[in-house]
């Protein structure tokens, strides 16, 4: 028997004895309530962490075997993000540590870019090279010619470094490829964004409306948990999705919408809610502005009008509008998260925001709650130099209301043909696989070919590392300290991540990498602590805690300053919009040259023999980052293309057959993808899970498995308001035979 099993037995015998003390365990030995190891007050060698497999950042415990090997990761019961239950990806996070294909040591490219020929280097050599190139670019073009692309918890350190260098070009794909339109639309309406984790009070809602949000496949943890609670409590779920999503299967109403027509449906709902007076009159009167303009605007947007566009029966539109009205204000029209779909996304989410306002859900129980965030004291550093030029000067006038730097704009600035205001010549990429993350791969690669420097910090040999000049291997989240997690939630809280194991091979934590580089650049003052844990201890002591305490608890929840999770009855609220009101009619948009009220504009339709390519998440994977994770590939090792049986029949395509996809621009998928013939997808669309089809051979488990949606997204519908990259305007057709391709065995 393995010694791991022995450990389990030994430690639980100890646990059993002590467990009697709390007296909560049923004496009969009957388990009626889940009791987790966390409850058994014994030292089962557990180390606090928060998860890095996605950006929900659930807090958990890493359990180790008696030999000191990482055994399993379990959610922290005290954590509001997970309530003691990690999602499959968090549970499978162990595979990130054990993946044999991980990056092991710094690498320096020896041949031309894109040819994956690297030599091993010492950290010193690699960082010296990076520092000298950064200095070169900075002196030749100015620091604004440096850009940081980053995602994940290391962002804080590199942001600090780049600000110290004097550049503000710090962009995350979570803005222009993800939730940017949503946050700007909510900001324009409520003067506040929808936050991450979203402020959706799902557990107490009476009606949850999901517009494309595929919760259950999108595994953002406590949302999934609360949706299940809502099902238990009999809440109505309304799902709008061209695909019969998992959530649709749990819904009372599923609206099988024709893709790209959601704004028409939303306008019809607004019409119904206003003209049938389902809206929260007191709330609207008290808090909202622009109601009359809105009412006039939607006058003709009847369910019949919307039917012709969306293919949703008028009766169903009416019924669901009424259902929302009945549940008001305990209703959530989910703001969505990945909302960069068709280029009119800010306007679509504006319609969602308006709907929430009409139903009075913002600031109400069962609607959208008021988040609270714990402010962690910041270690004082010298003042940052004010950047001489910012990303807004690259293409003056573009994306006037973008509230954060736009990744794709920085990429455009690296292509001389685009005549940017100034060129971006050096990229520092941390924790984002730009090749699979940003649509129009050819464009990204063209930009890369014009760079003087591309540095990539990653844990895995991904597509982006293949293009790097210097690869800096970071250890995984299980092997390092990171900044305290302080995300907004119902209660303010912080969580600690500390190493459960020594970094494997010659990998290093992000903080160390950023600091060493800063020292080499003469910016060491910006990193006053040699060790991150000393900084954490300083921060924690400032707030009356300590690293010691956090090592034991992992999570610390604080009381709210005031009992203000929801607006109180009759509360006078000053919103952070220009008018101080919820702006149904956006004067701000109008001033910036955009429609103050959302309009439906038809989108391009697929040509004969082509199908709209839509994509989403699989619950057991995160983007492209988990495709090689041994535990998670066990659950799903390739994606498939969902095809309606009618379409499959017309093409003579069989279940489980492998085919290639070709898009409207004649781009053919590198790899064949398995067909799933299923009624769950419309006949005018095909569906794929994002993150597969890796062309990086060093990832042995996932190389060539499935197809990459990103590769087929060559046409980008850019949102003129904030620069978001709409990715669902691409159409594919099928190729059943292809010669001369590499097929993974």
């Amino acid at each position: 028997m393995s010694s791991r099993r022995e450990f389990i037995r030994i430690s639980f015998i100890g646990a059993g004895v002590l467990a009697v003390a709390p007296g909560v365990l049923k004496a009969t030995g009957v388990i009626t309530d889940p009791v987790k190891a966390g409850d058994l007050k014994v030292d089962l060698k557990r180390i606090p962490t928060y998860c890095e497999v996605c950006f929900w950042k659930c807090a958990g415990w890493v359990y180790k075997t008696s030999e000191g090997n990482i055994w399993k990761i379990i959610g922290n019961d005290e954590d509001q993000h997970c309530n003691g239950r990690l999602c499959p990806r968090g549970t499978g996070g162990v595979g990130m540590y054990y993946d044999a294909d991980r990056l092991k040591t710094p690498l320096i490219r020896t041949e031309e870019r894109g040819m994956q020929v690297f030599r091993e280097a010492s950290w010193d050599e690699a960082l010296n090279l990076v520092a000298s190139k950064i200095k070169d670019i900075s002196s030749k073009y100015g620091p604004e010619s440096l850009a940081l692309f980053t995602h994940g918890s290391g962002s804080a350190y590199y942001t600090n470094l780049f600000k110290a260098l004097g550049t503000g070009n710090i962009a995350e794909p979570s803005y222009a490829q993800c939730r940017g339109p949503r946050d700007d639309a909510f900001f324009a309406t409520f003067g506040e964004e929808a936050y991450s984790p979203e402020i959706t009070d799902i557990r107490d809602t009476r009606c949850l409306v999901l517009i494309g949000s595929h919760i259950g496949e999108n595994m953002h943890n406590n949302q999934v948990q609360e949706m299940s609670d809502a099902i238990d409590k009999g809440a109505t779920i309304i799902t709008v999705d061209p695909r019969f999503s998992t959530a649709a299967g749990k819904s009372k109403f599923w609206l099988p919408i024709k893709p790209a027509t959601d704004i028409a449906l939303l306008l019809a709902w607004i019409h119904e809610i206003i003209y049938n007076e389902y809206y929260d009159k007191k709330y609207v009167e008290k808090y909202c502005s622009g109601f009359d303009q809105l009412k006039t605007h939607v006058k003709d947007f009847t369910p019949e009008w919307a039917y012709g566009i969306t293919t949703i029966k008028p009766d169903l539109i009416r019924k669901t509008a009424k259902e929302m009205g009945n549940a008001s204000p305990a209703v959530i029209v989910h703001p969505g998260r990945h909302v960069t779909w068709y280029g009119d996304d800010t306007q679509r989410v504006r319609a969602i925001a308006i709907l929430n306002a009409l139903l009075g859900s913002w600031g109400r129980r069962g609607g959208l709650y008021r988040p609270a965030k714990f402010t962690v004291p910041i270690v004082p550093v010298p003042a940052y130099k004010e950047p001489v030029k910012t990303w807004q000067d690259i293409f003056p006038g573009k994306y006037p209301i973008a509230s954060a730097p736009v990744t794709n704009l920085l990429i455009e600035a690296s292509i001389p043909d685009n005549k940017p205001g100034f060129p971006v010549k050096g990229w520092f990429v941390n924790g984002t696989n730009l090749i699979l993350t940003i649509p129009n791969q050819a464009n990204t690669i063209k930009a890369i070919q014009n760079l003087d420097l591309l540095v990539v910090v990653d844990t895995m040999p991904m597509e982006i590392t293949g293009w790097a000049d210097v690869i800096l291997p970071e250890c995984t989240y299980l092997e390092r300290y990171d900044a305290l997690r302080a995300s907004p939630h119902r209660r303010p809280s912080i969580a600690l991540r500390m190493p459960a194991a020594e970094p494997l091979n010659n990998t290093k934590p992000g903080y160390w990498i950023a600091r060493e580089l800063a020292i080499k650049l003469g910016l060491g003052d910006y990193f006053p602590y040699e060790k991150l844990e000393d900084m954490l201890d300083w921060q924690l002591k400032k707030i009356g805690s300590s690293l010691e305490e956090m090592k034991r608890s992992g999570v610390k929840n604080f009381p709210r300053d005031a009992d203000d999770l929801y607006f109180t009855e009759e509360e006078a609220v000053e919103f952070s919009t220009d008018s101080g009101k919820i702006e149904l009619y956006s004067a701000f948009f109008e001033q910036s040259g955009f429609d103050p009220l959302p309009k439906y504009v038809p989108h391009e339709e697929p040509a004969e023999g082509f199908y709209r390519l839509i994509y989403g998440r699989a619950p057991m994977h995160t983007f492209s980052r988990t495709s090689n994770n041994p535990n998670l590939t066990d659950l799903m090792h390739e994606n498939s293309v969902w095809i309606n049986p009618r379409v499959a029949k017309a093409w003579g395509i069989k279940q489980d057959q492998y085919i290639w996809l070709k898009n409207q621009d004649n781009v053919v998928s590198d790899f064949p993808v398995k067909v799933r013939v299923t009624e769950r997808i419309r006949w005018d669309s095909v569906y794929m899970v994002h993150g597969f089809g890796h062309a990086q051979k060093q990832m042995k488990r996932c190389f060539g498995k499935g197809a990459s949606d990103t590769q087929l997204i060559t046409k980008v519908l850019t949102d003129p308001i904030m620069g978001g990259t709409g990715m669902r305007g691409n159409f594919v057709t099928f190729i059943t035979e292809k010669t001369g391709t590499e097929v993974a065995s």
Partner: protein
């Protein structure tokens, strides 16, 4: 005592957390599993219905795997849990062939393995790993002989079914429908 499990197909989202949690908890080798997830879809677009089930050994009351085992390695333990004593198993595969649910696998070390209802955990009052991790809390576990246990209560309240009842195994894994 009669342990049983009930999975709510109305809440299960098929995320497979139960599968990977079992794998890490019980050191199930990569490439094998003790539980798995099945999804069925019925109907024609847009008139559709899905059912999602997290499946594992049914801990059958009338277990063919126990009956056919030549060494007694497969046996009933306390509470009706069907277990395999690894050091009694010869790896003949008879039990694998005998299980109508295909719930067993041959461990690379030679013996046959399967869901144990996490008896090492329930012995000390913890719930099985898959139950404890499930984000939708859709798995209920407990003692059927105790009318107040979670599982008894939910089975009383909700319509449910078992898989292949016609195989006569009397499964103790229920699905709420």
């Amino acid at each position: 005592m009669r342990y049983a499990m009930a999975v709510d197909t109305k809440k299960c989202v098929g995320c497979s957390d139960c599968v990977v949690a079992c794998q890490t908890e019980n050191s199930v080798p990569i490439g094998f599993c003790r539980d798995w997830v099945v999804e069925t879809t019925d109907g024609t677009y847009p008139q559709l219905q899905t059912e999602i089930r997290s499946e594992r050994c049914n801990h059958c009351v009338n277990a063919p795997c126990v009956r056919c085992c030549p060494t007694g390695a497969s046996h009933y333990a306390e509470g009706g849990i069907v277990l395999v004593a690894h050091d009694k198993c010869i790896g003949c595969g008879a039990c694998i062939a005998s299980c109508p649910y295909d719930a067993r696998y041959a461990h690379p070390k030679g013996y046959v393995d399967k869901c144990t209802f996490c008896e090492h955990r329930i012995k000390v009052g913890m719930s099985p790993a898959c139950v404890a991790v499930c984000p939708t809390k859709c798995i209920y576990f407990g003692d059927l002989d105790d009318a107040n246990s979670n599982v008894s209560v939910v089975l009383k309240k909700r319509k449910h079914k078992t898989l292949i009842p016609e195989a006569g195994t009397n499964p103790q894994l229920y699905f709420l429908i």
